[in-house]
Symmetry: D2
Amino acid sequence: MTELAAVKAALKTQAVETPSWAYGNSGTRFKVFAQAGVPRDPREKLDDAAKVHEFTGVAPTVALHIPWDKVDDYAALAKYAGERGVKLGAINSNTFQDDDYKLGSICHPDAAVRRKAVDHLLECVDIMDATGSADLKLWFADGTNYPGQDDVRERQDRLAEGLAEVYARLGEGQRMLLEYKFFEPAFYTTDVPDWGTAYAHCLKLGTKAQVVVDTGHHAPGTNIEFIVATLLREGKLGGFDFNSRFYADDDLMVGAADPFQLFRIMYEVVRGGGFGAESGVAFMLDQCHNIEAKIPAIIRSVMNVQEATAKALLVDRGALAAAQREGDVLGANAVLMDAYNTDVRPLLREVRGEMGLDPEPLAAYARSGWAEKIVAERVGGRQAGWGA
Amino acid sequence: MTELAAVKAALKTQAVETPSWAYGNSGTRFKVFAQAGVPRDPREKLDDAAKVHEFTGVAPTVALHIPWDKVDDYAALAKYAGERGVKLGAINSNTFQDDDYKLGSICHPDAAVRRKAVDHLLECVDIMDATGSADLKLWFADGTNYPGQDDVRERQDRLAEGLAEVYARLGEGQRMLLEYKFFEPAFYTTDVPDWGTAYAHCLKLGTKAQVVVDTGHHAPGTNIEFIVATLLREGKLGGFDFNSRFYADDDLMVGAADPFQLFRIMYEVVRGGGFGAESGVAFMLDQCHNIEAKIPAIIRSVMNVQEATAKALLVDRGALAAAQREGDVLGANAVLMDAYNTDVRPLLREVRGEMGLDPEPLAAYARSGWAEKIVAERVGGRQAGWGA
Amino acid sequence: MTELAAVKAALKTQAVETPSWAYGNSGTRFKVFAQAGVPRDPREKLDDAAKVHEFTGVAPTVALHIPWDKVDDYAALAKYAGERGVKLGAINSNTFQDDDYKLGSICHPDAAVRRKAVDHLLECVDIMDATGSADLKLWFADGTNYPGQDDVRERQDRLAEGLAEVYARLGEGQRMLLEYKFFEPAFYTTDVPDWGTAYAHCLKLGTKAQVVVDTGHHAPGTNIEFIVATLLREGKLGGFDFNSRFYADDDLMVGAADPFQLFRIMYEVVRGGGFGAESGVAFMLDQCHNIEAKIPAIIRSVMNVQEATAKALLVDRGALAAAQREGDVLGANAVLMDAYNTDVRPLLREVRGEMGLDPEPLAAYARSGWAEKIVAERVGGRQAGWGA
Amino acid sequence: MTELAAVKAALKTQAVETPSWAYGNSGTRFKVFAQAGVPRDPREKLDDAAKVHEFTGVAPTVALHIPWDKVDDYAALAKYAGERGVKLGAINSNTFQDDDYKLGSICHPDAAVRRKAVDHLLECVDIMDATGSADLKLWFADGTNYPGQDDVRERQDRLAEGLAEVYARLGEGQRMLLEYKFFEPAFYTTDVPDWGTAYAHCLKLGTKAQVVVDTGHHAPGTNIEFIVATLLREGKLGGFDFNSRFYADDDLMVGAADPFQLFRIMYEVVRGGGFGAESGVAFMLDQCHNIEAKIPAIIRSVMNVQEATAKALLVDRGALAAAQREGDVLGANAVLMDAYNTDVRPLLREVRGEMGLDPEPLAAYARSGWAEKIVAERVGGRQAGWGA
């Protein structure tokens, strides 16, 4: 197989998980703008996700958020997904939208609230059993807003205790993916604020616990690809929540704010053995399409990940290693930039053609009439949203 | 008058405006936690604001947000306030919570939306006429989320045009206070992102247009007291929206995150002639008490401003100037720090005693039974909140 | 002329000024690493700069830094440059490397130091008269390290006074370009910390005073292209000091850290009429090649500016305006991204061929033997560096 | 013992290590300003450090930097220190000021350079044996400036290998303290950029390896006290390099930029059992007094640490725990703020009096004539500085 053929083969195996909640309405604390045609229930979200996969070919799974996607019969939901060509992916817990969680969930000072939070997480594992999902993705909004508000260290003890109980419940082939976040919604301390904290907890929990990197959850200036390389080296990179940001956790389309950064991240993924199903690294989107059309935005995001991946795969690693060994700063940088500066869109059009897809997913989606159909049909009922 | 007497006299004249919306519920995009006893309408907000003034003695005015505080009869509302010992303060416009404003208000690409936004601002001036408010406070959520989304420069043209129309409508003794903000809710460009932009627009509009400094609206590391000193030097400091932050626009209680910064700001205010009614600088709170009790949080915030002001007034300016002239870096810094390190709480207790107030506003409020009363009485109806 | 022909014609007129000091050694506070073959005097710097122009065709001028590039006979230096195919460009003042400037220069508390600083600036204008340079570029290291160290506002008064004296000295066709910087070497206040401060001073000085945007001189997250658009709209953009950064004022090769940002900046330049000789906007490099080979790094930087410019010129502005008008967020963004994602290197190779240049400047330089020649010949003497 | 007596007793046991290099000249990349009277060799640095201890009573040890403080006979140097009332403290390695280290030291692509770096570290352990120092403090300037320049992950492998060799050489009672830094002098990647990386390496090395927190080495907005609490909980907090910053690694006097942050850090130290000799946590200064008088600046810094510690010790932990348990956000915050707002200077004057010291260290130092003496006597020779 030629090198280009290998790149194309790799691109055809790519899998980007889309999140059910990105199909619903979202917004900022100032306003959630409603969009016509937005799904009203988990099945409609799956319908939309299936469209993304239909046109991109590389979005085969859909993440659920519990309780946003709570249904009576998860097996039926999984079957519904399957009939549309997609599978259910990671189960995302939600311990931040109940009034009880005002001062935290798993780290709350009150044991009763912690119990409730842990029970919710255990329920999520039950759901995983039903859906066949392998990953429990944990993000905690826990933290404090004011110095002194709570005991920072005791909160770590509570966190460790709660995680351990959930970890013990994980079945064969199931993982716990722990996400960290710099800040928001807590504004003084966050209980899992950085990769170091997530890593330290995962290390103690065991091999089924791994870290999730949300690309919007870092301090300004943080070198995310360094974290990716380090977690891969430690065998602790569970996956990504992709999105992009100019300022804080802006949750814009991945690749929209700093495509070069996304390329560098994907390069470290490829270089560190994190690409490909056997790596166990999950590539998920976690975005808010506050003002743009949701399905096209998700298609675009998937394409942005593809383009960054293609460029990363095109890096001439032999030439790079040679320049690095020689201490040729400009030469080594030039090898990387050559790949980045390549226009990979023609290559991806070819790949799509070979996969039996329209080479232009966005145009094909626009022609499909789906957007008009959902606007016409999804009338009445309550639109899905972050809180729905 | 001794120096200490002068400081005490100055502290007695202090006036901190509290915002009607801080008495209602607020939150993050993840969750708004409801609190018992929260006001259900503008009059109940004024009732609460009157309590803050009753116990602190330095919170005599209340800012309104339109349309959150829309009433049929503003003169009656003003009278209602007056009967409770407070006055209506700045009118805050709101051009971000209508579905039309998804892509902006006064900077929107569509002239019809711009018209609607400007009409709202003109209506706010009408309300000022009715309430006797002197200040129109303008904060625009306008901006873009994605590069290319709109023409950055044309948006400035639209902004200038809209502001000019509103400026022309201002009556005698009325001002337009233009607020800037680094980001949020827009995540790529914000149309008034920094003091320079606000300043440039105000300069062209004329003397009735001034800049408002919201202490949470800056890039990380920004030296806010420098901006304060500069705007005072330029005669363009209209006032403050006080709050504090560790990360972004956290809207925590002012002085909670960096009390030394608040002191430095107040020092530049005092040094630059910005303290005192004649200065025209308005001191307003703009905060979100997401998880803490609202009235006590506002009382605490007012006290934090008082303490920072007291310390600023206590700076030995003669000694400071002498050390500065001599290039005595450590000596000059020590003069400033001496004032900052002083515990001014005894002094403020004295000041309150001399004003006929309880020296401990929070304890007095707690004893007053108001908290229990509103929890008991404000049942049913719809709690006020950012969107209420 | 077709559109592509117009783009190519525009690219052929591009002019990027290289700084004499970038050819010498530089470093961090921790270490300046010396490189073999580095120039030992201003003429050798011009020799190197001439090579950059020889191979790129778009680096026709060289900025000087006084006193680093002090010579007895500036006319002779200009003649020397001319004989090598380049011209002398902006004169950069240096008021930060004399022991007297420990507490500032033009803002120093001591009038004698201020006098010295202003005299240096006036001398720089004398040099401009001799070299025929049109631009005086002013960057001040002035500021304070500790709160209270000096009077923030008085320093502004001193700054205004000093600038006014120098402004008055400017001749016909001469400009003063005022640069701002967020921080470093001052760590508490900087006397010209942001574009607003520079703008306010330039506005008062008059039309010959304009603002310089150094792309590394902003707070984290600052939207630089917004500033560019705003300054162009105000007629106050004098030029750029190009470099790139991941953290602070890293002074890396322009385009190396965030090529998408550079493209967005160049798009606003083009869109705002800032491209082309008649615009008066100067495009200068200001970088430190601490660890990489200096001449190739500068060639690469010039090429990075070319590539960003080419992409900016390729934006389909008609399609962009149409999508913007319609509020088509994704469509408008896609138009911009189409240009960015284009590989413009083939186009630039064509442009160079048509200019009679080797299409690959770096390879041509490598083949030229210049690097080996200077290493062999520039032995002994004192290498030029920031302090040389 | 009453509570206040216990606080006073604790304060008397405090030990802050001062760094030999802070007595010498330092600066930024733009300029090192020389000061009269600065030491010319390690003994003169010890003389100055002894003065700081003489007047503060809590600065009993002095950190050395090798090779800056290289001498022929370390036992003699230790004896010299002892005769002046101080002891030699941590040995700091320096692998950044040799030309060989341009692309790194222990992480360099070339094995020969790595060998040299590791040999230097081993030599530092030899010196520890001679001086009786317990701590080897490691800070690496290693990193890269450009994407692609070197292999991020291989550099971690090299780092791990080098550290392991040095770790194996540590004797009984000796520790390795690994420092992390966000950026500078490397501007793209830093090989130990955050506490997580340092922690992961120390964990693998063993119990003698611990993490050092330099308070200036974090991304903007980082919650340092959270890191302190976490490292204490993990048993991996080796110590502090204290200084303060407004922007990057400004190296200002500790407590000068954000005294509230220093208090919060010291509170977590006290709360987490990190205060007191038995804790093993080392409190060291690492600062640059670029423009202020060096010895008074160090005295001031020691006093700032004392004041923050006193406030931390004064926190009413019973009341705090009670409020935290009840979820009383404002009440818990108020307990912390009460301690912070206390003016502890009278208490520290008492403590000093009881220790037989002048209650005002700075005034006493000023009266001592030492400053005048060193200016008069230390003439000729070469002033010590970062590179001396």
